[in-house]
């Protein structure tokens, strides 16, 4: 169940008449007139509520002789609230897409034909730029300082600043043996 579907269902359930209809259908399948009689509301009002319940995926209908019978969609109600809460959020996807768009926008702004035009002054943007440069380094390989400088110089002449900032951003690590690319935690 998506987040939008869950909201739709919860909204639909927050009505006493609809809850009473569902309680009746939990006993057995029923047709509109019978529900109207049981709940003491008009048949048209019952139809109205059934339509809303059907749209929310809570009930389903089938034809039986002359009657349209309504039944509870049991699988919906067998879903626990926790399962709904553990569903991946639609909003999280939207946010991830926005982040990816922003990331690409920064790359498009600061890189031209694979070269870094200028080092961004904003920390957040510089981080993105440094992440792109870090991709030129292989994992599990030790680089000498000269090798690091040559790789960075392919992107920008100021390799000293970039090398230092990559260490600062923990994209590269170093010790006496040399430099290596840090694996991302996520």
């Amino acid at each position: 169940m998506t987040e939008a579907e869950a909201i739709h269902l919860f909204k639909c359930l927050s009505d006493k008449s609809r809850l009473q209809i569902l309680k009746s259908l939990a006993i057995e399948d029923m047709y509109v007139e019978r529900l109207a009689e049981r709940l003491s509301i008009t048949a048209s009002t019952v139809s109205f509520h059934l339509k809303k319940l059907a749209d929310a995926g809570a009930v389903t209908s089938y034809k039986s002789q002359y009657y349209m019978m309504y039944s509870l969609k049991k699988e919906i109600f067998e879903t626990s609230i926790l399962e709904i809460l553990q569903e991946k959020s639609d909003e999280a996807e939207v946010q991830a897409r926005r982040d990816a768009e922003y990331y690409q926008k920064v790359i498009n702004t600061f890189f031209e034909y694979g070269k870094l035009k200028t080092i961004p002054s904003q920390k957040k943007k510089e981080r993105i730029v440094l992440e792109v440069i870090a991709q030129a380094f292989e994992f599990d390989r030790i680089y000498s300082e000269r090798e690091v400088n040559i790789i960075i110089a392919d992107f920008h002449d100021d390799f000293c600043t970039i090398r230092r900032d990559m260490i600062g951003e923990r994209l590269l690590e170093r010790d006496t043996k040399g430099y290596w690319r840090v694996k991302s935690e996520c």
Binding site: S14, D15, K16, S17, I41, S44, T45, S47, F48, H49, L50, K51, K52
Partner: protein, 123 residues
């Protein structure tokens, strides 16, 4: 004589509107939001025709037949759009919209019946 009929009709409208408001309140307390909204729709229809009746009385200067003509004309003219809206909703299987339009049409039909009863009744 005509004053009494005007009084009766106005008190009918007032009574129906206050009844709807009371029902709306009760239904809201009972967590029946949509049905509470239906009562609001009904109250609006009563209010529309109470206003139309006032205009009919004001413009017709006590002419019994003129009031009736004006009111009947309006009570047939205004709901024609609601009939169209109902039929359109039916074509699209929009039960929610159909229900609202049906409530408006039922209410207007009740108002028309009550108007005729009060207006035509013998003194």
């Amino acid at each position: 004589m005509i004053e009494q009929k005007i009084l009766n009709l106005n008190s009918y409208f007032d009574k129906q509107i206050s009844l709807c408001k009371q029902c709306n309140k009760n239904l809201l307390t009972d967590e029946r939001m949509d049905e509470a909204n239906f009562e609001k729709v009904k109250a609006n229809v009563y209010d529309i025709f109470r206003t139309i009746f006032s205009v009919a009385v004001k413009n017709s200067k006590g002419d019994f037949e003129a009031i009736k003509r004006f009111f009947i004309l309006k009570i047939e003219q205004i709901p024609s759009n609601w009939v169209i809206a109902y039929n359109t909703a039916k074509q699209h299987d929009n039960t929610v919209k159909m229900q609202i339009e049906q409530i408006k049409l039922d209410t207007v039909s009740e108002i028309k019946q009550m108007f005729i009863t009060i207006w035509e009744e013998e003194e």
